[in-house]
Symmetry: C2
Subunit: 276 residues, 2 copies
Amino acid sequence: MKFIDKLNSRVEHNGSLLCVGLDPDLIRLPVHVRESEAPYFMFNKAIIDATAELVCAYKPNSAFYEARGAAGIEELQLTCAYIQEKYPSIPIILDFKRGDIGNTNKQYARFAFEYLGVDAVTIQPWCGAEAVKAFLDYKDKGIIVLDRTSNPGAGELQDLSVGGQQLYLKVAENVRDNWNKNGNCLLVVAATYPKEMAKVRTLVGPDMVFLVPGIGTQGGDLAAVLAAGLNKKKTGLIINVTREIIFAGTGKNFAAAARDKALSLSAEINKQRGVT
Amino acid sequence: MKFIDKLNSRVEHNGSLLCVGLDPDLIRLPVHVRESEAPYFMFNKAIIDATAELVCAYKPNSAFYEARGAAGIEELQLTCAYIQEKYPSIPIILDFKRGDIGNTNKQYARFAFEYLGVDAVTIQPWCGAEAVKAFLDYKDKGIIVLDRTSNPGAGELQDLSVGGQQLYLKVAENVRDNWNKNGNCLLVVAATYPKEMAKVRTLVGPDMVFLVPGIGTQGGDLAAVLAAGLNKKKTGLIINVTREIIFAGTGKNFAAAARDKALSLSAEINKQRGVT
């Protein structure tokens, strides 16, 4: 099944555009979890069981697992396997922002699509389409190209003018025209830049889905994002929230606190979308 | 000790600008190695012992280890630990081309500098200097920014004109003026684009070191690269060769074949540098 079909089917099924980022951080885990043998997996498992019916996707960021070395990678694998077994209709986006040249990207793709078996990945634009063909050739996977990032200094390169067009728009245009031959491309467009998001939506049309970081801790404005990015079907966005949900509670009841936060966020998104 | 001092001291000590890429690939390993319990570590160990006196640095690319999941990451760690223990004067460059926003880059930096303990890393330019501060703040490490990559399609973004200057030159200029406040930045400038390398050298001056991929299998021309990139001291380049060296032999004597190839390459580099 293609990633985009799996995502659309999930959104149709439960009406949620909320994606939960699974980025554990040892010092922020409840003490009883931190001291368990596989703390990241135990933490994720509880968060997943508490939020599964409220999400359209999960998005682990590989950095948080790599920080713990081989043990962390094993816990990332266990997390993906758990979702695949228990909640097979929920797509997994591996946020790993890789981007090398062809021969090497084949290896990164093996990590994502064979070892972990995820449904989609984030990649870098810097080396061009030819370099990332190894990713783009996975027709059934979602290939999410970093376009407009959420950080305050995102504009250093992304806002530069190339022939009268800003670089993040040029990248979006290239993805639309050349990278997306298999219809499997998405874009990262951050919630902290709603004006820029509106321009990207106009440029690429209604069908390309945006992965949207920056709501929550990073301060993105939900109403502005929905106004800028939704298509006429009131979809086209995967709204990721991480810390505000997964670290909503700090004690024994952290999973229930995460569920409450996910519930209120997905309800708020749907209220503002005009969907009930 | 700062990366750049460790590198310079190594180059002074053995006169070599050759860096060997440690990118094992299961299907290309000699059968007797492939069937061992830790094939990548066994392979690397033999390559390292055979080539140590001929190199200025080793450069494992994390993709090849990630492709084998947690087991691969463990072998990457064993490889780094082996170099650190047996050849502590040889710097290790982790080629992982990461680039996320601040909070996440801290985790990637932990993987590189704490779990693996490497001396330098490669990073992406797309999110700007503010995003990669977590890397730049490691004053003693080498932070190698992807500038001009070796692939045929590198120009898709890198050659775009921004205010009359090509984008890869703009990145080099930004690194020179803003990213390099701790004097710990280097640039990736590929051997397959010697004309572009000459422009980057002119722009950033003689002291910034370039990590140079693309000699060997990828077809970069050594004489052109040396003419374009060497500074007046006949240094300033880390010339990486991977497949042509590590896969020089396919049987029991693969390490000796790698040594022979590394020996002839480092001699050829020095002959063309006019250093004996």
